[in-house]
């Protein structure tokens, strides 16, 4: 049974022995051939697969239906319909086999026609493009300007004369101040012209003289309110 691809294949092989067109085949005769074949296999103690036996049972049923006059009570397909369908199945299977043979007879790639033997692979070149939107740009700029607004306040040192600077300036000078002298004359050069710089230098110098007075190095006096402040070396 190895040579057959199932019961339909066996039936097709048997049908060919009738040497007629499959459309004109006698299904009754075919059923008898098949059943005889199965009987023979049984005698030879050849084990048949289940589907061969199922087909045998179905064909035995079909054979009896074909031989008996049709029962008008019975519903469903007639015996002739069943036989016609079996013939159709056989014809279709044979047609597909012929089609398969024609397909395999075509020129085949790698056997009859050939593809490029040395294909040139497509090189993958990765290119990176950068993108930014107008919003990115605006946000970036806004971020910068926002940062400016929050920059910690830093004194503009250009216009500031510190007390430390004033002290450093006054210390070597006071030894020579014997007479009462207006502290405004001790302002460093160039700090008089601009009002803001003058204020800063005056304040720093005054603070420095207070510091020096505290240390006992000099005396301070102011004769009237808002009047000029004079200093001299403590005798």
């Amino acid at each position: 049974m190895d040579g057959f691809e199932g019961p339909l294949d066996l039936l097709l092989t048997l049908a060919r022995t009738q040497k007629v067109d499959l459309r004109a085949i006698s299904v009754l005769a075919l059923a008898r051939q098949y059943l005889a074949f199965v009987e023979k296999a049984r005698e030879l103690r050849i084990e048949l697969a289940a589907d061969y036996l199922v087909m045998a049972a179905w064909l035995a049923f079909l054979k009896s239906r074909l031989l008996l006059p049709p029962d008008p009570e019975e519903e469903g397909p007639s015996a002739e319909d069943l036989a016609a369908h079996l013939a159709f199945q056989l014809e279709r299977l044979e047609a597909m086999r012929k089609a398969a043979a024609r397909l395999m007879a075509r020129d085949q790639l790698g056997r009859d026609v050939f593809a490029r033997g040395e294909p040139q692979g497509v090189e993958r070149a990765r290119r990176v493009t950068y993108t930014a939107t107008l919003l990115d740009l605006m946000q970036g700029y806004a971020r910068l300007r926002t940062r400016d607004d929050f920059r910690p306040f830093v004194m503009d040192r250009d216009g500031v004369f510190t007390m430390e600077e004033a002290l450093e300036r006054m210390r070597p000078l006071i030894g020579a101040v014997v007479e009462w002298t207006d502290i405004l004359s001790f302002l460093p050069q160039g700090w008089n012209a601009d009002a803001a710089r003058c204020r800063s230098a005056t304040a720093a110098t005054f603070a420095a003289t207070l510091e020096l007075a505290k240390g006992g190095g000099l005396d301070l006096r102011q004769t009237d309110t808002f009047g000029p402040i004079h200093i001299r070396r403590r005798p």
């Binding site: 279709r92 086999r97 397909l103 790698g110 026609v113 490029r116």
Partner: protein
């Protein structure tokens, strides 16, 4: 957009002359062993190229040559002329011999696609072994199609571009004897009158129409 504006972009991205496009398509197809789709060609050619026009010129140029330009579904490839196969013994690829079951199953899928496993079994009268389907899938000759809109939504099988390429078919419509088989009613799934009605219904109506997206008609 003024007339001036309309002309500027065109001249900036003007497609190369057709003769040049033909050379480009020639180079791309020559470099590839597998068929290249028209969409792929357009993706690789400069902007504005007309791949189908270039292909048709190219096909004419190679008529009668030792190498031919052939169409495979929506793709194109150069292949050696089949009459020169005798020279190619060195290139011949030894393929594993397909079993009779595999060949029949392949033919049934090709002629009846999209087709379910149950339909294949109904035609062959025997169950389809898993190995057979796997072998055909491995060869990349068949693939899964859409599920059938019937109870159980069974998967269907269809043939691939590699199948068409292997057997030198432009489209599944070019299968040998397809028209005759259809005319003879042998591609119809007639339900078995005794058993439960087969669920195939309109299988034949959409034989090659709903080709999956990978296989769009050219």
């Amino acid at each position: 957009m003024s007339d001036d504006d309309a002309q500027t972009p065109e001249s900036l991205f003007q497609a190369p002359p057709l003769a040049e496009q033909e050379r480009m398509v020639e180079a791309i197809l020559f470099a590839s062993a597998a068929p290249v789709t028209v969409a792929d060609l357009h993706a690789r050619l400069p902007h504005g190229c007309d791949a189908p026009a270039a292909l048709s010129h190219l096909a004419k140029r190679y008529e009668g040559r030792g190498v031919r330009l052939i169409r495979v579904g929506d793709a194109w490839a150069f292949r050696t002329a089949s009459d020169l196969a005798f020279l190619m013994t060195r290139e011949t690829v030894e393929t594993r011999k397909l079993s009779r079951a595999a060949i029949e199953t392949l033919a049934i899928i090709a002629y009846h696609q999209p087709v379910t496993r149950a339909e294949i079994e109904e035609i062959r009268g025997v169950s389809v072994s898993k190995g057979t389907v796997e072998q055909l899938l491995e060869l990349d000759w068949i693939k899964l199609g859409k599920r059938k809109q019937t109870p159980g939504r069974p998967v269907t099988f269809v043939v691939t571009r590699a199948f068409l390429d292997h057997f030198g078919l432009e489209t599944p419509r070019d299968l040998p004897g397809l028209k005759e088989l259809r005319a003879a009613g042998l591609l119809e799934s007639t339900p078995s009158p005794d058993a439960l009605p087969e669920p195939e219904g309109d299988a034949q109506d959409d034989l090659f129409v709903p080709s999956p997206p990978e296989e769009p008609p050219v």
